[in-house]
């Protein structure tokens, strides 16, 4: 089984929100529900400020805190190592939302369920890239298989690190910052 993963080069992120909206359309989410959000950080003093934008979404942690807290096993790890949510089992208690240190899970009010980035597995199974990767204007996102890294993904993998290793959740989403 491949172990799918994504690398985000935050130095290339221009904060254009293309990935977020592409994801919302792919996953048929309403305007107020998004699987991708952004944090930005400004440092330094005028006239030499530094600025970075970090896109955030489910980190597909190997030790995912959202899984053990789920009372219905809706939150689970799948055979590709992804953290998935079985919509039919979710009762919308939102314990997983509280447990996620990356604040990367979305409660869909209209449906009464929690959902999050699923790495567009349905597209991946058809041989396509996840919607956010395919549309990223500056090619800041790379998608691949950790067990069989190829091409640009393999090149970037050496530089990529988890966003907050101190959370101890061993994410498979990796960042270059």
């Amino acid at each position: 089984m491949p172990r799918y993963a994504m690398i985000i080069d935050a130095k290339k992120c221009i904060g254009c929100y293309a990935c977020q909206v592409a994801c919302q359309m792919q996953n048929e989410l309403g305007p107020d529900n998004a699987f991708i959000r952004f944090e930005d950080r400004e440092t330094g003093k005028y006239p030499n400020p530094k600025y970075v934008i970090v896109p955030l979404q489910c980190q597909h942690c190997q030790d995912a805190p959202c899984v053990p807290v789920c009372p219905t096993t809706a939150s689970h790890k799948d055979s590709n190592g992804l953290t998935m949510i079985d919509k039919d089992k979710c009762m919308g208690c939102r314990r997983c939302v509280a447990a996620c240190p990356y604040n990367a899970r979305t409660y869909l009010k209209d449906e009464g369920v929690v959902q999050a980035c699923n790495l567009c597995l349905s597209l991946v199974k058809q041989g396509e890239a996840p919607a956010c990767v395919a549309t990223c204007l500056t090619k800041a996102r790379y998608f691949g298989d950790l067990d069989n890294p190829t091409g640009e993904f393999a090149k970037q993998l050496a530089k990529a690190k988890p966003l907050r290793p101190d959370f101890g959740t061993r994410p498979t989403l990796l960042y270059i910052i």
Partner: protein
């Protein structure tokens, strides 16, 4: 409730699919319903985005007869397979609650009633005939944002009427630049960012005033190690890829360029051979630049003199693969009083670098030539002889302004002066996207006849006597266009959502019948499309399937300049003849910030296109969530004023007051306050976007710059003070 388990959109899709696939009366369960809906085949239909001028090629994925999502067309030169946030969200305009669904007639302020097309055409034709009889065709004008279909149909209709005044949106966009290049290099050259070694951006922001390709090009240049200098009062997101951010006092870019020329000449860093062969007026120009030392420019621009020397030397040492990027709206487009001369200087500095036609410098495009209708079979109306009513190209008014663009934002003023009586506006929201909303609204309403053709309600539509509803991009096919070395076309992805809306070609053709101009429209849209693509060797049926097709690029042309002298006019005689400086010289902007004031600057965000997208529910949700309507103020100044991040402030100019929250940041020049453009809708009955944010246009007076007539959109000083919640 179980029904809550299904998102509304999917739920509705399931309903449609059931009706189609299962048929009424069949037994089905909700599970079967969902299965059928989700398993429905997805068709991919080629279209073009319409949320900005880039018109990216994209595939519309349609499921159960409804738009699901879009993806980019790989062969399209603007999208290159990628679509921005506006494109992903904007295609759903077809389902937007703020669409105009019927022909409308205004019966009182903000009060419209639906009427039939026949009534609309009949009454518009009668009023137009009265205006023509009483005032002549010189008081009739047409304004639009030129796109393939309207560019063909509307001007033909206006010619049939006898009107010469056809205007694009450019006087609130790039007219300063466009007038300047017309008289300096005779045509528009663009920076070859793919091969340049050293490039200076003056206010132009490839990653927020973006198309997918401009953002990708900037990223690629960064990866290649190109030196990119971003000169801007604001540390825009373009600075993420820049080698250096050079903050500049608003509106003083002209001084920087004068000093760059000074250094190139003084240090012999210019291309003597190019100047000898291709420029006129070098001696006058050289003489003119002598006084503009970097030390002088430093006091004007607030840029250290050593930085100016470094930029000039960087450009000179890397020539000809170095350039000043051409800009768009930017300081040379329509922002400041000195914009036209500023672009003259951009063109002159590029000439000193000898970079025209060179790799990494400034290149003229040479697109394949499209065809046109057979004039014998389909006679066109004669070219109108009536004088223009916007002053473009007219002695004593704006003689140098190019008549292909005109001065669109001036029309309300002209209406108040009695110089314009009837206007037709297509897909252009002047009343909100140009400065001075009060005057613009008053002026448009003073016309005897204003007809607006659009897909959704706008501030400008509110001023109209009649509104003609066009169908959305997703619902219509448009005429093909040549873009780079491709031909590309929008096709209809879905059927009409509102049955009373019509494609533009049908509206114009039908209306022509009411004014006795049917003989000029004796063809179908397909006839026009076939004529356009005929010389390109492309078939319409193939284009309908592929959306974008590569065509053979013409052989490269030798370098030439289409000015009067056939050279780059460092000294421009036409400018001298009309009383303007023939060699650019320092002209300050109107607005310089004082101790208590800021120059109010604005600019695009990557996910917004002015009011075109400011009511999009997805994009609006982003702006609300991340507080992106806020006014940027420099941290030091904010501290001195006792303003903290997130505070509510009152922004005021002599013309208007408005309230907005503040973003306190190190990323903006202390003399500038930055407000993103597009927010602050003024259509009271819009379902989305009303009551969110304010517009920089509220504060800025409605004016026209002396040479090209552009709107001077950043020439305003505002005060900012903290107010209670």
């Amino acid at each position: 409730m179980w029904a809550n388990k299904f998102p509304r959109r999917t739920f509705l899709k399931a309903t449609a699919a059931t009706a189609a696939a299962v048929g009424v009366g069949d037994v089905f369960s909700i599970g079967e319903w969902m299965k059928q809906a989700n398993a429905a085949p997805v068709t991919k239909i080629p279209s073009l985005c319409e949320t900005c001028s880039a018109a990216c090629g994209m595939w519309v994925h349609v499921k159960n007869g409804r738009i699901w999502k879009v993806t980019g067309q790989k062969d399209h030169s603007q999208s290159k397979g990628r679509i921005c946030a506006r494109g992903h969200a904007g295609i759903a305009m077809a389902y937007h609650k703020d669409r105009i669904t019927h022909p409308m007639k205004r019966i009182a302020d903000n009060h419209f009633v639906p009427i039939t097309w026949e009534q609309a055409y009949g009454e518009i034709a009668a009023k137009l005939k009265t205006v023509l009889k009483e005032h002549g065709p010189e008081k009739v004008f047409f304004s639009h944002n030129p796109r393939p279909t309207n560019k063909f149909y509307w001007p033909r209709l206006m010619a049939a009427v006898g009107s010469s005044t056809i205007q694009s949106h450019h006087s609130m966009c790039s007219t300063g630049r466009d007038v300047a290049y017309k008289w300096t290099t005779g045509g528009m050259a663009t920076a070859d960012i793919g091969k340049t070694k050293y490039i200076v951006f003056l206010g132009r922001n490839y990653v927020e005033g973006l198309s997918p390709s401009t953002a990708a090009n900037m990223e690629a240049a960064h990866a290649r190690g190109v030196t990119m200098i971003v000169v801007d009062p604001r540390h825009s997101n373009a600075c993420l890829f820049a080698s250096q951010w050079v903050p500049i006092r608003p509106g003083t870019d002209l001084a920087l360029l004068l000093a760059i020329a000074n250094v190139l000449l003084a240090e012999n860093l210019y291309d003597k051979e190019f100047v000898d062969e291709w420029c006129v007026g070098f001696d006058e120009f050289r003489q003119g630049m002598k006084q503009y030392t970097p030390e002088w420019a430093s006091t004007m621009t607030d840029i250290p003199a050593e930085t100016i020397y470094a930029i000039a030397r960087g450009l000179g040492n890397n020539r000809p693969a170095s350039c000043i990027e051409q800009g768009y709206k930017a300081p040379n487009g329509c922002n400041y009083a000195n914009g036209t001369q500023m672009f003259r200087m951009v063109a002159c500095v590029n000439a000193l670098l000898g970079n025209y036609g060179k790799d990494g410098g400034m290149k003229f495009s040479n697109p394949p030539k499209a065809g046109s209708l057979d004039a014998k079979k389909y006679p066109a109306p004669p070219k109108p002889k009536a004088a223009r009513c916007d002053g473009a190209g007219i002695k004593g008014e704006f003689p140098l302004c190019q008549t292909s663009q005109g001065i669109v934002h001036l029309m309300p003023q002209r209406a108040l002066e009695g110089k314009a009586k009837a206007g037709f506006l297509y897909r252009i929201n002047v009343a909100r996207n140009a400065p001075g909303p009060e005057l613009l609204t008053k002026g448009y309403k003073a016309l005897d006849l204003l007809v607006v053709c659009d897909v959704k309600w706008s501030e400008t539509a509110l001023c109209a006597h009649y509104i003609l509803p066009e169908c959305c991009p997703a619902e219509r096919e448009d005429l093909p266009a040549v873009v780079s070395s491709t031909v590309t076309m929008r096709t209809a992805a879905i059927g009409l959502v509102h049955s009373e809306c019509k494609p533009l070609s049908q509206i114009v053709t039908e209306f022509a019948g009411y004014i006795g101009a049917a003989k000029y429209f004796n063809f179908t849209q397909d006839d026009v499309a076939n004529a356009i693509i005929k010389p390109l060797g492309v078939k319409l049926d193939e284009l309908r399937v592929k959306g974008t097709i590569k065509v053979k690029a013409p052989a490269p042309k030798p370098l030439s300049f289409k000015t009067k002298s056939k050279k780059v006019e460092l000294y421009c005689k036409a400018f001298a003849d009309h009383g303007f400086a023939p060699v650019p010289q320092w002209e300050p902007p109107y607005s310089k910030a004082g101790k208590d004031t800021f120059v109010l600057i604005h600019g695009k965000q990557g996910f917004m296109s002015h009011t075109v997208t400011a009511s999009d529910p997805y994009l609006l949700a982003i702006a609300r969530r991340d507080g992106l309507e806020r006014l940027w103020i420099n941290a030091d100044r904010a501290q001195k004023m006792g303003i903290k991040d997130g505070d509510l402030v009152e922004v005021a100019s002599p013309q208007a007051k408005g309230r907005v929250r503040v973003k306190v940041t190190e990323r903006v020049h202390p003399e500038a306050a930055y407000l993103p453009a597009g927010y602050g809708r003024l259509v009271p009955f819009l379902k989305t976007g009303v009551g969110f944010g304010i517009s920089p246009n509220d504060f800025t007076p409605s004016r026209a710059e002396a040479i090209s007539g552009h709107a001077m959109m950043m020439e305003v000083l505002v005060t900012v003070r903290k107010v209670g919640e």
